[in-house]
Symmetry: C2
Subunit: 206 residues, 2 copies
DNA sequence: ATAAGAAGCGGAACCTAGTCCGCTTATTCA
DNA sequence: TGAATAAGCGGACTAGGTTCCGCTTCTTAT
């Protein structure tokens, strides 16, 4: 039996009108270009709307807010990773021991964060954390499943949260550019956290 | 020898001009009243300035930004807690074993968060986390000292971050009001996290 | 084919955090 | 006491995210 399916929802439902779908695509393309060209902190929603040739209303109808647009832009990479988690080869995919799968996942996720994602997420810093609504929301299930199997003695929900909070974009930027840590140190730290939960939870259960 | 002194800076330096100090006081009083009366999410910086009888320039000269004002409002409670950590009776103050001190601190800090602080911090959600600049910034040192002594085998800086990230206001509100957890569960989760780091780090060191 | 209605659209208006700058006032020192 | 000066002040202004609403366009059922 495969794990639960915490797939990131594909934004394009079939009930979307043709012009709406084309606008969505144009907005995403325009945003991708502008973000790449100027950096995400020098691109306003106006800029994107103008470049895409749509009005503000359209932007906000499609994506809800700036965070929604950002998450949509990040969606593809995360759908790939998620696909690997569900059906890829071990250690990312099923088949490897929990500790190895956790490590592989953590490293991969932090690598994405390090590859421009953190900067993008920082520009969305409104009233909610990416952890609860953004890409990482989808990984909670994955982590919960792994922990529940391998460390049943834990308050799995709490442990999962410590693990995803560690993907916080501001924290990543802090470590990386204010403290000059190499990515590997952040990844190692995360793996240690995962191990530590596993060790603590393995005892009582099974 | 006492621990290092990560004291939250008192905002009133003696070099502050008399009118400036009085304005600071009036702003803080006005903000306290308005926040209490309407809730922090229904009070703009304009509102506070008007109620205090000062201009916007004064607000921003005194407190830098909305987050600065909020942190100042929270300051007193945190100075109290910090005082207890440094010079109070065990288990908060010096003298108790590290695990007990960590538990006592975590519970106290989460109690503050639960007592209105989370809602206030949510309205500041700009480009930085309270973890890096707000009240919790001051607790990093405390945690680092305790961990360094009791668990020298760890990457203490990373572990400290997982511990303070768990004080995230959004996360707290999520657990508390969207998932309806009792405070005690959050506190227990945090204590478990602290224990788990201690257990992992105690082995190799000393 | 066409009319009815839902879905979508544009962009001006709004709200609020944060900045700027010319004027005012407390302080200090002769 | 009375300049000189640095600190502080007010409030109009800017910028950017978000909302609103009257108009347009796609869809579909007849």
């Amino acid at each position: 039996m495969p794990e639960e399916l915490p797939l990131i929802a594909l934004p394009t439902e079939q009930t979307e009108r043709a012009d709406a779908a084309s606008n969505r695509r144009r907005i995403l393309e325009a945003a991708t270009e502008l973000f790449a060209a100027r950096g995400p902190d020098c691109v306003s929603m106006q800029d994107v709307a103008q470049a895409a040739g749509v009005g503000m209303g359209t932007m906000y109808r499609r994506f809800g807010d700036r965070a929604g647009l950002t998450f949509a832009l990040l969606g593809e990479r995360h759908r790939d990773l998620q696909e690997q988690l569900l059906r890829g080869a071990p250690p990312l995919g099923p088949g490897a021991p929990a500790a190895e799968r956790l490590h592989a996942f953590g490293r991969a996720r932090i690598a994405l964060l390090d590859d421009g994602e953190a900067q993008m997420l920082l520009t969305t810093a409104k009233a909610e954390s990416a952890t609860l609504r953004g890409p990482d929301a989808a990984y909670r299930t994955h982590l919960a499943v792994l922990l529940r199997d391998a460390a049943p003695a834990l308050d799995v929900e709490y442990a999962v949260n410590t693990l995803v909070m560690a993907f916080d974009a501001r924290l990543h930027v802090h470590f990386r550019y204010e403290r000059d840590w190499p990515v590997e140190r952040i990844q190692a730290g995360w793996c240690a956290l995962a191990d530590v939960w596993l060790a603590a939870g393995a005892g009582a259960g099974v």
